[in-house]
């Protein structure tokens, strides 16, 4: 390892110059300049779809850039392959690390090069000893005899970083390493990363948690719509400024009249699930749209899934229309008037290969079934046609496989599916993710229409501006607690105040 003085000289370990990449119909990256210095932790931020993943895919040799040059150390690469990228010393540590779970830490470290004795048999003593020594060199005191599946997520990430370093990585890309970590885990991970940085390690740190970017990074590069908006020292910038750079000013807002009525539909009291949320008390009125926001891992996601029955709910009582809501499975939730829109519609919301018709009527099939279990196709078609018109779903026919529709129209199909169950309460998780601006407006109109019909809506989202436009009330969740409430029309409801509330909790610790 180099001494600290040498490191302080600003030698860029990575230089990406004028990198552009176009996909059919989309300019994913335009003239991107990005560099990382030795011994630096460089943050890379931007909204979903801004181009972070494309840039990293190019760096990893997975995608080939249309234009631009990449220099790693002193070597210049025009078109890299993943193999070349790894040989050049670039390692990628994903959010969910791929490890040989049923094998020990030591074996994971030395896999493929296990030390052997004179007889050619694996020398387990040396395996464990060598693994231990290597880890100790990095200051990582893991039990090498433990199976990887027994490690915590933070330890698995640290092990992955260590493995990358043993493989002579010079630059390590960390992709959302803290997404499923508790604060204590984050602290341990961060002190490990910092110690490696002090020894000359270089990192690219991709994260949506802006306050963590400020905590761990030296510099941060902001990407918006495929362009670099700026590279700043974190000392010279603050969260609101960063957000403005990420989001831009050109956001078109959807505005609506409140349809909130007096009657309370949903009541949560004393809801608590260990490790995720606690002390949740909330009332939701007929026709009300409530925004629930917070950092990733604040518990909002689990609360939504818990309400619908996708995850354990913990303790506490929920009532809908004054009746206790006891559903533990999604189908029971539908029947008791609660519908849920998952964030990842491709994996959980839709059966992509099947037709629009089938996707829309899955939850209500048992109501369409006549004698001997046959589906009443006529009635089914009537329902589907009605929603296609109402929600303005652009599809050639009811039989079109959903996979072939555009993102926005797919999302509308999920809405239609939920609407068939005639819900009283709708829980939406990032409903506008991955859809274009026009489809976004359509989706807000649909949500608005449903609220007008008296449906109470909870939107779990990190898109604060969108929430401000559409919600009657925004509740901020922090480390599993509801910490602050903003009402529409009050002076409090500004992006800065909401952001401060979102960031607030973690900084207090």
């Amino acid at each position: 390892m180099n001494t600290k003085q040498e490191i302080m000289e600003k030698t860029p370990i990575l230089k990406m110059e004028n990198v552009s990449k176009a996909f059919p119909g989309v300019q994913a990256l335009t003239d991107v300049n990005f560099s990382v210095e030795q011994g630096e932790i460089h943050g890379l931020v931007g909204k979903n779809g801004a181009g972070k993943s494309t840039l990293m895919a190019i760096l990893m040799g997975i995608l080939e850039p249309n234009e631009g040059a990449i220099t790693v150390g002193d070597e210049r690469f025009v078109a890299m392959s993943p193999k070349e990228a790894i040989a050049a010393g670039i390692a990628y540590v994903p959010q969910h690390v791929a490890m040989m779970d049923s094998l020990t830490v030591a074996e994971n470290i030395l896999a493929g090069e296990l030390p052997r004795n004179k007889m050619g048999l694996v020398d387990w003593k040396r395996v464990n000893q060598e693994a231990k020594e290597r880890l100790e060199k990095l200051g990582l005191g893991l039990d090498v005899n433990k199976k990887v599946e027994g490690l915590g997520v933070a330890e698995q990430t640290m092990l992955a970083i260590a493995k990358a370093l043993f493989g002579n990585a010079k630059l390590i890309i960390l992709d959302e390493p803290t997404a499923s970590l508790s604060r204590a885990d984050i602290n341990r991970l961060f002190s490990f990363i910092r110690s490696l940085k002090d020894k000359g390690g270089s990192f690219i740190y991709i994260s949506h948690h802006l306050e963590e970017v400020f905590e761990i990074c030296d510099r941060v590069t902001i990407i918006r719509d495929g362009r670099v908006v700026g590279t700043e020292r974190v000392k010279d910038i603050d969260v609101p400024k960063l957000i403005v750079m990420m989001v831009g000013e050109d956001v078109e807002d959807y505005t609506r009249k409140s349809t909130c009525m007096e009657e309370v539909i949903l009541n949560l009291s004393g809801l608590e699930r260990r490790g995720y949320y606690e002390d949740i008390n909330l009332e939701l009125r007929k026709g009300e749209i409530l925004g629930l926001t917070g950092l990733q891992g604040c518990g909002a996601e689990q609360l939504g899934k818990g309400l619908f029955g996708l995850e354990p709910r913990g303790i506490g009582t929920i009532t809908i229309h004054g009746e206790e809501f006891k559903a533990v499975k999604p189908i029971e939730s539908f029947n008791q008037g609660l519908a849920y829109l998952p964030q990842d519609r491709y994996r959980f919301g839709l059966v992509g290969l099947r037709s629009v018709r089938e996707n829309v009527t899955y939850p209500v099939l048992d109501k369409l079934v006549r004698l001997i279990n046959l589906v009443n196709r006529k009635e089914e078609k009537k329902i589907v046609d009605q929603y296609i018109t109402e929600l303005d779903i652009k599809t050639p026919s009811t039989e079109q496989p959903v996979r072939l529709l555009s993102g926005g129209n797919q999302q509308k199909v999920v809405f239609a599916k939920m609407a068939t169950t005639k819900p009283d309460v709708l829980v939406l998780h990032e409903p506008t993710q991955g859809v274009d601006v026009r489809a976004k407006m359509d989706i807000f109109r649909i949500i608005d229409d449903m609220a007008k019909q008296g449906v109470a809506v909870i939107i779990i989202s990190t898109e604060i501006r969108e929430l401000m436009g559409v919600c009657d009330r925004i509740v901020v969740m922090n480390d599993g607690r509801l910490t602050k409430e903003f009402r529409k029309g009050s002076e409090e409801m500004t992006p800065e105040k909401i952001l401060a509330a979102i960031e607030g909790g973690k900084n207090n610790e």
Binding site: A98, M99, M100, D101, S102, L103, E107, N108, A111, G112, E113, L114, R116, G120, L121, V122, W124, E149, G150, L151, G152, V153, S182, R183, A184, D185, E272, R273, R274, G275, Y276, Y277, E278, P312, G314, I315, D479, G480, R481
Partner: protein, 356 residues
């Protein structure tokens, strides 16, 4: 304190198969005099030696995360090929009356070929291992019927029968003697060798790495496809050995030799702790699974339990084994969840966690 009990429980869980084997031995011995006779005990593995070799081959493929359902037919084919080459015309052979020292290498050649074809189809052509080996089971069984005269071929040279039916040692007793079959010793020996291979060689560890997580194994520079091809080749050789043991023990081969063994093979491996998901379990455990299977088979039939009940009890044991596997996985997940919760700062009362 709690940590200790949990660790102890873990060790108990990992070695449960041997507790079951011991329990089976004790129960049947106390119930039946003929079961506990030394000659019966020593020949428990003698009767299931062919099954044992198939369990071994299957365990190898399962550790890498693959299945082999073709082995029972591979056993049948290799046995029939050898029988046809060695037996006289009047005993159902082709009349070549080949020496066993030529016939046995031919068997291994056939077994190796089966393994190579399996491995080729699965790794080079990326075909699903389950379906490939089911297809191979049918194809090979069909081949046995095609090449056989449709009848039994029997009476082989003594040297051929030595491994499967021979006796290694006779210990004289007051009345009669205890006979130590070659097959019993051979099966134990080969399982020990297999254990050494899987635990102590680079190749064996690469098998586990492949089954545990193919992507991570490839990242570590392991040629997983090559490992899988080797494992199927070894599996094919195991079929030939099983054919040698099966044909040698009863001094004959029929077109149906080996048929119906697929599910016992699966069952014994899973009971022995080899995980269906790959990357988990060891060969000593698999030997335990084989022994438990032998004890139940032998014990129940000695006690004159109806064969229908024997079949039922086999099914129950298999269910039990899968049940244990499921608990193991759940227990593991719960433990790592609790460990990660110990680090969090909020909440204390989630019922879903506290109950454990």
């Amino acid at each position: 304190m709690k940590e200790k009990t949990s660790k102890l429980l873990g060790i108990l869980f990992d070695n449960l198969i041997w507790l079951l084997v011991a329990a089976g031995l004790v129960i049947f011995s106390s119930l039946s005099k003929s079961f506990r006779a030394p000659n019966n005990l020593i020949s428990l593995l003698y009767r299931t030696s062919a099954l044992g070799l198939l369990v071994l081959g299957q365990s190898f493929t399962m550790i890498t995360g693959n299945f082999d359902l073709s082995s029972e037919s591979g056993l049948g084919l290799t046995a029939m090929v050898a029988a046809l080459l060695m037996a006289t015309v009047e005993n159902g052979g082709l009349g070549l009356e080949l020496s066993p020292f030529l016939a046995i290498p031919v068997m291994f050649g056939v077994g190796a070929l089966i393994g190579l074809v399996n491995g080729f189809l699965i790794t080079r052509l990326r075909m699903n291992n389950l379906i490939v080996t089911i297809a191979m089971q049918m194809i090979l069984r069909g081949l046995v019927y095609i090449i056989s005269p449709g009848a039994t071929a029997s009476f082989f040279p003594k040297a051929f029968n030595w491994l499967g039916g021979g006796s290694l040692y006779k210990i004289p007793l007051e009345r009669g003697f205890v006979n130590i079959p070659v097959a019993t010793v051979f099966v134990i020996l080969i399982f020990v060798i297999a254990h050494i291979i899987t635990r102590y060689t680079q190749f064996g560890r690469n098998m586990y790495a492949t089954g545990s997580n193919v992507v991570a194994a490839k990242d570590a520079g392991i040629d997983t496809d090559k490992i899988i091809r080797w494992v199927y080749l070894i599996d094919g050789l195991c079929m030939a050995l099983a054919g040698l043991l099966a044909a040698g023990r009863i001094d004959s081969a029929t077109p149906r030799t080996g048929s119906g063994m697929t599910f016992p093979v699966q069952a014994a491996s899973v009971i022995g702790g080899i995980s269906m998901a790959g990357g988990r379990g060891n060969m000593i455990g698999a030997l335990g699974g084989l022994m438990l299977w032998s004890i139940l088979d032998n014990g129940l039939s000695i006690m004159k339990v109806s064969p229908f009940w024997i079949e039922t009890s086999r099914g129950l044991i298999l269910l039990f084994a899968v049940f244990l596997d499921a608990i193991k996985v759940r227990r593991m997940h719960n433990r790592s969840l609790i460990e990660s919760l110990l680090h969090t700062t909020i909440g204390l009362k989630d019922k879903t966690v506290v109950k454990d």
